[in-house]
C-alpha cells in the first residue's frame, strides 16, 4: 500500500482539472438515463392500419371502431380499392390492412359466418404478433358478445352468474404484480442503471491507466518504490467513489422522473452494487493491462459492453436465447447485477431471494480481480 495517499491525491487533482471526467461520470449518465428511459418502450400501440371497407354499413363501421378502441391499432388510411391497400402496405405507411367484404352485414344478419381479411406486415415480428393476437382476440370477443345475445333469447346457456345472466364457463382472473400498469420503463430503467454504471466506470478506469501508460508516466511510476497495491488502490478508489455518486444520481432520477420506487432494502442494493463496481473496476484494470493505447482500450471496452447490453437480459429475455448463448450469459457480470437491480427495486427481493445472483456476481468478481491483478505488474515486459 506504499504511496496510496500520493496516488490518491494526484488522481483527485487530475479529476478536478479535467471537466470531461466529471461530465462523463455524472452528467452524461443522468442524460442517458432520462433519454433511454423514455425511448425504450416495448408496449406496442397504435399500429398503423389501412381499412378497405366494401360494406360500409353499421355492422362494419362497428367492427372498425372496435379495432381502433383496442388502442393497438390506429386507422391511418381508408381506401376504396384493393390496389391502394397493397400500396399502403408496400410503402410501409401501414403495418396492417383490414378488408371488410361487401356482404359482411348481410351475412351477420342471416346468421351466417362473416369473414373479414387481415393483412399483416410480418417484417417486424413483435409488431406482427401483437397485431395478430389483437385481431384474433377482438373477433373472438365480438363473436362471444353475439353468442351471448342468442343464448339469452334461447333461454339456454353453458353457464350463468348468480344473477342468472349467461357468462363464460371459465374466467381467468389475472393480477399483475410489481408493475400493475405494465409500464415498460419500470422494467427497463433499473436495468439501464446497471448498463450505464458499467459503461462509465469501465471507460474511466481503463482510460486512466492506459493514459499513463501511453504518456510514459506509468514507466516513471514503475521506477519509484510505489507499491503495487498503493498504485492500484490509489487509482481505483476515486473512481469507485465516483461510481457510488453516480449510482445515487441515477437512482434519484429513477424515483423522481420515472416514478419507479425502490421496494427493497437500500442497504442491500448499495452493498451488492459495491460488488458490481469492484468487478467493473477489475474489468477496466484488465483492459488496461492488455491495451497499450487509449484507442485500443476504447475498442476493448466496446467489446465488453456489447454482450453486456445484448446478452445480459437487459434488452432480451435470457430464457429465449439458444442454449449455448444462454450459458454464455452466466459469464457476464451485468447479467447478475441487472437481476439484482430488478429484484430489489421492483420486487422488493431480499438477499435470500437473490442468493444465486449474489453468488454469480461474487464469482465473476473473484475471477476478474484475480486475472487483472495477476496481469498488472510493476514491470515493462
Amino acid at each position: 500500500m506504499n504511496g496510496f495517499l500520493a496516488i490518491l491525491l494526484k488522481e483527485l487533482a487530475h479529476i478536478r482539472r479535467d471537466r470531461g471526467t466529471i461530465l462523463f461520470a455524472f452528467v452524461i449518465p443522468a442524460v442517458q438515463l432520462s433519454i433511454f428511459g423514455y425511448a425504450i418502450d416495448v408496449t406496442i400501440e397504435n399500429i398503423p392500419l389501412v381499412v378497405f371497407d366494401l360494406d360500409g354499413r353499421q355492422e362494419s363501421r362497428r367492427l372498425v371502431e372496435a379495432f381502433v378502441n383496442t388502442r393497438t391499432f390506429k386507422v391511418v388510411e381508408r381506401v376504396t380499392d384493393s390496389e391502394s391497400l397493397h400500396r399502403a402496405l408496400n410503402a410501409g405507411r401501414a403495418k396492417a390492412g383490414l378488408i371488410v367484404p361487401a356482404d359482411y352485414s348481410n351475412r351477420l344478419l342471416r346468421g351466417e359466418q362473416a369473414q373479414v381479411q387481415m393483412l399483416i406486415d410480418g417484417s417486424d415480428s413483435q409488431i406482427a404478433t401483437t397485431a395478430l393476437n389483437a385481431a384474433n382476440l377482438l373477433t373472438i370477443n365480438m363473436s362471444l358478445g353475439r353468442a351471448k345475445i342468442v343464448a339469452e333469447q334461447a333461454q339456454r346457456a353453458v353457464s350463468r352468474d348468480p344473477a342468472g345472466r349467461p357468462v363464460l364457463p371459465i374466467e381467468a382472473r389475472p393480477r399483475l404484480l410489481y408493475n400493475p400498469d405494465l409500464e415498460s420503463s419500470h422494467f427497463f430503467v433499473p436495468g439501464l442503471i446497471g448498463i450505464i454504471l458499467q459503461l462509465v466506470l469501465l471507460f474511466l478506469t481503463s482510460f486512466s491507466i492506459v493514459r499513463e501508460r501511453e504518456r510514459g508516466t506509468l514507466e516513471q511510476l514503475f521506477v519509484t518504490p510505489v507499491g503495487r497495491g498503493g498504485l492500484l488502490f490509489g487509482k481505483l478508489v476515486p473512481y469507485a467513489c465516483m461510481a457510488f455518486g453516480e449510482l445515487c444520481i441515477v437512482l434519484t432520477l429513477m424515483v423522481a422522473v420515472f416514478g419507479v420506487n425502490i421496494n427493497g432494502s437500500l442497504l442491500l442494493l448499495f452493498s451488492l452494487s459495491g460488488i458490481f463496481i469492484v468487478t467493473v473496476l477489475g474489468l477496466g484494470l484488465l483492459i488496461s493491462t492488455i491495451a497499450t493505447t487509449q484507442l485500443g482500450a476504447l475498442q476493448m471496452a466496446f467489446m465488453v459492453m456489447l454482450p453486456s447490453v445484448l446478452l445480459s437480459g437487459f434488452m432480451f429475455p435470457r430464457s429465449e436465447m439458444p442454449t449455448i448463448i444462454y450459458w454464455v450469459t452466466f459469464a457476464i457480470p451485468a447479467t447478475y447485477y441487472i437481476e439484482i437491480l430488478r429484484g430489489v427495486i421492483l420486487r422488493g427481493a431480499d438477499l435470500v431471494d437473490l442468493f444465486p445472483h449474489f453468488i454469480g456476481l461474487c464469482c465473476c468478481c473473484a475471477v476478474i480481480l484475480t486475472l487483472s491483478l495477476a496481469r498488472f505488474r510493476k514491470q515493462l515486459d
Partner: protein, 320 residues
Amino acid sequence: MTDAVIQTHGLTRRFGKITAVSDVSFEVSRGAIFGLLGPNGSGKSTIIRMLCGVLRPTQGTGVVLGIDVSKNPEQVKRRIGYVSQKFSLYADLTVTENLDFYARIYGLSAIQLRERRGVVVALTGLEPYMDRLAGQLSGGWKQRLALACAMIHDPEVLFLDEPTAGIDPVARRELWDLLFELAGRGVTMLVTTHYMDEAERCTHVGYIYLAKLIALGRPEALKANADVTPANTQRYEIRCTNPAASLALARHIPEVRDATMFGDTLHVLLDTSLDPRELVRRIAPNDPKADVRPVEASLEDVFVLMSRAQARKLEQVRVT
C-alpha cells in the same frame, strides 16, 4: 574498482528473437558521469530500464549500489532517480504538485518534503514556475522539472535517458552544468545521448553498437587507442575554400586512410609516408588559404572506426 556504484556483468536482454542488449559488462564508480552512446535502437534505453528494475534481464546481472536489480528491484528503486527519454510527468499538474507527488511516492515526511523541495528548486531554478502547469513549460524547463522530480528523494544514482533530446543548445548546456554540479555532490550518473560533444564531457563513455558494447573507457584513453590512430599515421585538419571538392580528391589518394568533412574543414588520417603539405597541394591546388595542422582523434572518429571494425567482424562471422 571496489567503489563501483553500478556494475553489469554479461547483461543481456532478448525480446522474442531480437537481442536488444547482448553481453554488456561495465562498471561506474561513485561520482562519475558515465555516458552511454550509440545509434537509435542500439539498446541504450533497455540497459537503463534493466538497471532501474523495471525490465528483467534475460541473462547476466546488473548490480546498483550493491543490490542485484533482478533480485531486489524495489530496494534499488528507493535509491535511484530516473529521467526518461520522453517527458513523463503529469502535464495537467503544476510544478509544485508534480514535485509533491513524487516526494510523497518516496515516502518523504512533510518536513523532509519542504526541505528537499527547497533544495531541488534552488538547484534547478524552477522557483518562478512553481504554479505553472507542467505541460505549459518549455522543453528545457520540462527537463529541469523531470530532473528535480528525479532528485526529490536525494538519490545516490541518477539514470538519464537522452535528457537533452530536442531541447535548445542553451538549455542543453545549462542542463549539463547541472549534471556536473550533481556529480560534484557525489551523485553517480548514467547518461545516454547521441551528441558527441556531450560524450566528450563524460568522465567515462561506453559505445553500444548493434546491442553490443564495443568501446569503453575514459574519452582521452579511447582517443589514444592504437586502433584509432595506427602506427605511422597522423590525423590532420585541413582548412580550404572548397572542402567538398577536396574531399573527393582526397579519397583517391592511397596514403589517405580516412577522410571526412568536419564543419568547413576536412579531417584526414594520413600515412606518415606522405607529407601533409604535399597532400594539401594535391587536393586543394592553387588555394592560397589552404592550411593544415595535426589534430587529435575525436570521439566520433573513435566510434566510427570501431563501428566499422565491428561490422567487418560480424561480416566475417557470417561468411565463415
